[in-house]
Amino acid sequence: MATLTLAKALNEGLRKAMENDPKVLVMGEDVGQLGGVFRVTDGLSKDFGEDRVIDTPLAESGIIGTAVGLSIRGFRPVCEIQFDGFVFPAFDQIVTQVAKMHYRSSGNVKLPITIRIPYGGGIGAVEHHSESPEAYFAHTPGLKVVTCSNPADAYWMIQQAVACDDPIVFFEPKRRYWDKAEVDTDSSPADLWSARIARSGTDATLITYGPSVRTCLEASAAAAEEGRELEVVDLRALSPIDWETVFTSARKTGHAIVVAEAPVYVSLAAEVAARVTEQCFYSLESPVLRVGGYSTPYPASRIEEDYLPDLDRVLDAVDRAIGF
């Protein structure tokens, strides 16, 4: 047992992954001596050398494109994209190459690439540093998408992602990098593809992931003070989703609210709402509501808290659902 921040838990998990398999490489901008701008790769260069922890030229398409070639040669690259807003120069390689090569090759080529992306807002940053682009990747067949919300999951999920033979986009909730928790490094981890009941409740279900899990836990704590028991489902895997856990909860409470930072329009939250409705039609007492970002570019940081889903907006939605 150790008390770790989420960032440190990722760091420890990566270290374990590199120890376990000499084919694991870490690559990206500033991941070497600097240890990454969030220090998630801190110390790895020193311990595993520059051949396994590669400071790359400043070109995201290059990072992902060369990772494809390294994979064909038998390596397992873990690519860091420095911030969510900088994944787009690599989007072509991710969507047309990484996502399709296993299919294109009839299964002959495996691309065990992990693409780490710190994402989400709330850190007072400038433009392009607070995006939530998960929908783009979840909509892309051939990719898998996961996100952690707490140090223990961070520690285990990054190792599971690196060990997975499919390409995985691994979203890290950057505003939670400094959240601390006990991590039991000896336990055995939950299935990477399972959702987690982060809090049990009976009155309504909050379906959420990544940075919004804490927001939802805080909202449910506040709701509990007023006698309302909210269940919080932390999806963890965004593609594919562990639907059974989601449906079971939604059927139990009869009310579902999806909470995420991304603009709700054509989002992952839309998928959750659509599917929960389809599969739980007769159990729902109210339509699935969504609390998320607005359909605007991510705003200047001095108003970002108005943009992001917070405790009040979540509780407001709960009120609307239950009062429907």
């Binding site: 398409s61 494109g65 070639g69 120069p89 296993h102 090759s105 009839s106 002959n108």
Partner: protein
């Protein structure tokens, strides 16, 4: 408007040629090629085989057996020269037109046809022959090749990677990023650009006003322009570049100066954008004919040799034709195969749904099939 399109001089200092269009051997100070007549005969054979595959595929497309074909006509020497320079240790990353390289690397042409027929997306195992999957998104494969070369550096392998791409591709960000990376990591890679003068309807002058091989200088590694219709010159230059890469001296760029004698693909109509006269000029530089001229003139090969090669080519063509026509369509449910190495609950659900749906027709064919709706 001050825009100008300057013609690129085809020859000039550094233009490497070892066999003239008339079939005359010439020397080049930097690229001596010690080659036996038997080897030249075998190169000739490859050129003929590759051209024959191409002709057959074009015919198959006309007959509706292929959805599309991207002809390599005119580029046989560039591809056979590079393909034969590659050894088993080396790995080739092709575009969609490298049928000649595939042939030299031992890939069954029928496999390639599967893609153009629409029966697969490629599907071969790149590691079987060191020949990557066809890549349609222009330039992507150059980064894959660079990464592969970085992998060779890291696992102590002694081969090199070779990235194929066209003149049009040199404008893509990815290709230039590959140059940056290869230079930065001093990676064992050869960038092999077939400048066939055209990117669909656009002449190479739209991409660059100076010869393409010169792009390499600015990234810190050498570039060379070779007569892409001269199989000996391409072989010599590419071998040298591969040797350089393997010995740790880093990347280089080979520009094979050639001409796309066919339409871009079978869907294209070049009469809209280029003069038939240009084609005539280039016919005089035909890559196959000049080797034949050399072999004949020097009495290295006689009529029976040429007849044998021709017969072998016909035989291969017949094999390709038969195998193509027999190629079964994939099963509908195979849609779901190989999306992931580790499967996916989402796909399992979709597959089950489709299976149930298909089963619901039980013998009677769906209305869409009856109406032939949506099939174009």
């Amino acid at each position: 408007m001050t825009e100008v399109l300057l013609p690129q001089p085809s020859e000039g200092p550094g233009f490497v040629q070892l066999l003239t269009p008339e079939g005359q051997r010439v020397e080049h100070p930097d690229y001596a090629l010690d080659i036996s007549d038997d080897e030249i005969k075998s190169l000739y054979r490859d050129l003929v085989m590759v051209r024959r595959i191409d002709t057959e595929a074009t015919a198959l497309q006309r007959q509706g057996q292929l959805g599309l074909w991207a002809s390599l006509l005119g580029q046989e020497a560039a591809q056979v020269g590079a393909g034969r320079a590659l050894t088993e240790r080396d790995f080739a990353f092709p575009t969609y037109r490298e049928h000649g390289v595939a042939y030299c690397k031992g890939v069954d042409p029928v496999t390639l046809l599967g893609l153009f027929r629409g029966a697969s997306q490629g599907g071969w195992d790149p590691n079987e022959n060191g020949f990557g999957l066809y890549t349609i998104v222009i330039g992507s494969q150059t980064l894959h090749a660079t990464g592969y070369a970085m992998g060779i550096q890291r696992d102590g392998g002694d081969g090199a990677a070779m990235a194929f791409f066209g003149d049009g591709a040199t404008s893509q960000g990815d290709v230039n990023e590959a140059f940056v990376w290869a230079g930065s990591f001093n990676a064992p890679i050869v960038f092999f650009c077939q400048n066939n003068q055209w990117a669909i309807s656009e002449p190479v002058e739209r991409q660059s006003h100076i010869p393409l091989y010169r792009r390499a200088e600015g990234f810190g590694f050498p570039g060379v322009r070779v007569d892409g219709n001269d199989v000996l010159a391409v072989l010599a230059v590419t071998r040298a570049a591969l040797a350089r890469a393997r010995e740790g001296s880093g990347p280089s760029l080979v520009e094979a100066y050639t001409y796309r004698m066919a339409p871009h693909t079978t869907s294209d109509d070049p009469s809209r954008y280029r003069l038939a006269a240009d084609l005539e000029t280039w016919k005089l530089k035909d890559p196959v004919e000049r080797v034949k001229a050399y072999l004949s003139r020097h009495g290295v090969a006689d009529a029976s040799f040429f007849a044998d090669v021709s017969a072998a080519a016909d035989e291969l063509a017949a094999h390709v034709r038969a195998a193509c026509i027999e190629m079964a369509d994939p099963e509908p449910l195979s849609l779901f195969d190989h999306v992931y190495a580790g499967g996916s609950s989402l796909l399992d659900e979709e597959r089950a749904g489709m299976a149930a749906y298909l089963a619901s027709f039980e013998g009677e064919s769906p209305a869409a099939a009856k109406l032939n709706v949506g099939a174009h």
